[in-house]
């Protein structure tokens, strides 16, 4: 039974691992830190899995556990030296798809997101993942009104960081 449970879990995790990688990219600055957080999220998901009753989609449940781990449960390792900058490690999609101005703008935007608080990053993450305000509110445990207010503030903060 446990083996079957583990097999089902890892199959689902393998299928949806992108969600975890994206959370890691948002909350860490180096490959080592990324790997550490990915490991901790995977462990927390596995531990919480027996209580996942399928009321929500596996991916929806993953968002919650991954965000919980990134903002609350994960204890950053002191031995990790953060050597690489956010925009040099992440999101290497650019090139031919954008013109230089847009690419530069995106770089600055990712850098600005990096400067947000843990909670703001979670809100931005869910927004970028195409979640509506009801889903964002439910995932974070806040009211929909609060989610909207916070998102507007985040947009304001980003503008301020980009145009000081």
């Amino acid at each position: 039974m446990t083996k079957e449970l583990e097999h089902n879990f890892v199959t689902d995790l393998e299928k949806h691992q992108n969600i975890v990688h994206k959370v890691c990219r948002l909350y860490t600055n180096s490959q080592d830190a990324h790997n550490d957080l990915f490991q901790e999220i995977s462990i927390q998901l596995w531990r919480a899995y027996p209580k996942f009753r399928g009321e929500a989609k596996f991916s929806t449940w993953m968002y919650r556990v991954a965000i919980n781990t990134a903002i609350t449960l994960f204890r950053k390792s002191k031995r990790r030296v953060q050597t690489q900058d956010f925009d040099t490690v992440l999101f290497k999609i650019q090139s031919s798809e954008y013109d230089d101005t847009e690419e530069e703008q995106l770089k600055l935007l990712y850098k600005a997101v990096k400067q947000l608080s843990d909670i703001d990053k979670a809100l931005v993450f869910l927004y970028l993942e195409d979640k509506n305000y009801t889903e964002i509110a439910q995932t974070m445990g806040i009211t929909e009104v609060n989610a909207r207010v916070k998102m507007n503030r985040v947009k304001g903060k980003l503008k301020k960081i980009l145009n000081p």
Binding site: E6, F9, V10, L13, E14, Q17, N18, H21, K22, D36, Q39, E40, S42, I43, L45, W46, R47, A48, K51, F52, W61, R64, V65, N68, T69, I71, T72, L73, R75, S77, F91, K92, I93, E97, Y98, Q105, L106, L109, Y110, V113, S117, D118, I119, V124, Y127, L128, D130, Q138, M140, G141, I142, T143, N146, K150, R153, V154, K155, L158, K159, L162
Partner: protein, 212 residues
């Protein structure tokens, strides 16, 4: 176009560039050791429950019973021991109950509330344990200061008020030192979590940590 919408357009294109871990790699990963803050909270909390009792291992504390007996404080000794151990058991039960409620399945708000609640149980236990120092110290000193041996040892003209003032200051310093050490451990563990909690609940449903 809104800046976040520009980001969203780009965000969706990153899937191809993300690492892909195999089934085997993921299987081995989930069995590795967790470095969760909850694990540390549990370890430190258990230590905090155990440490006040370890003090009895020091030789100078071992003969407390004999000293209490010589001052005819056996009954007080029994009462304070019962109060302390019953209190400690109640706190251990509450701690266990709150600790069990910590789950990564909860939403971030509930998760943070439950962690803070669990730590608060330990905080109240520490207050409770520290309050024993002035109570036991005060009663013990009161009886010790009234023995003929103590009065005979007092220098001529020494006032009891000064003796009491010094005793109270020493007891308060003792409590203060323990309290500071505790605040350091407590603060280190929960500062970030408290900041995140306040950040999360700000605006719409404003509240604060004292509401928990």
């Amino acid at each position: 176009m809104d800046q976040l919408d520009l980001l969203k357009k780009d965000w969706k294109k990153q899937d191809g560039s993300l690492p892909k871990l195999s089934f085997e790699e993921l299987t081995s990963l989930i069995h590795k050791k967790s470095s969760s803050v909850v694990k540390w909270i549990f370890i430190i909390s258990v230590l905090e429950f155990v440490l006040p009792h370890l003090i009895l291992l020091f030789p100078s504390f071992r003969n407390v019973d004999a000293q209490m007996e010589s001052l005819h404080l056996q009954n007080f000794n029994i009462i304070i021991s019962v109060v302390f151990y019953v209190g400690a058991l109640i706190f251990v039960y509450l701690f266990y109950k709150n600790y069990r409620s910590i789950s990564a399945n909860s939403n971030p708000k509930i998760l943070m509330q439950n962690i803070i609640k669990t730590r608060k149980t330990v905080k109240y236990y520490i207050w409770f344990a520290l309050s024993m120092i002035p109570i036991v110290g005060g009663v013990f000193s009161y009886h010790a200061f009234n023995t003929p041996e103590f009065i005979a040892k007092l220098p001529d003209g020494a006032s009891m008020a000064v003796v009491w003032a010094v005793t109270i200051v020493v007891l308060l310093i003792l409590v203060g030192i323990f309290w500071l050490i505790y605040q350091l451990i407590y603060g280190r563990l929960l500062n970030k979590l408290k900041a995140n909690y306040n950040d999360l609940i700000s605006n719409g449903n404003r509240g604060n940590l004292e509401d928990i």
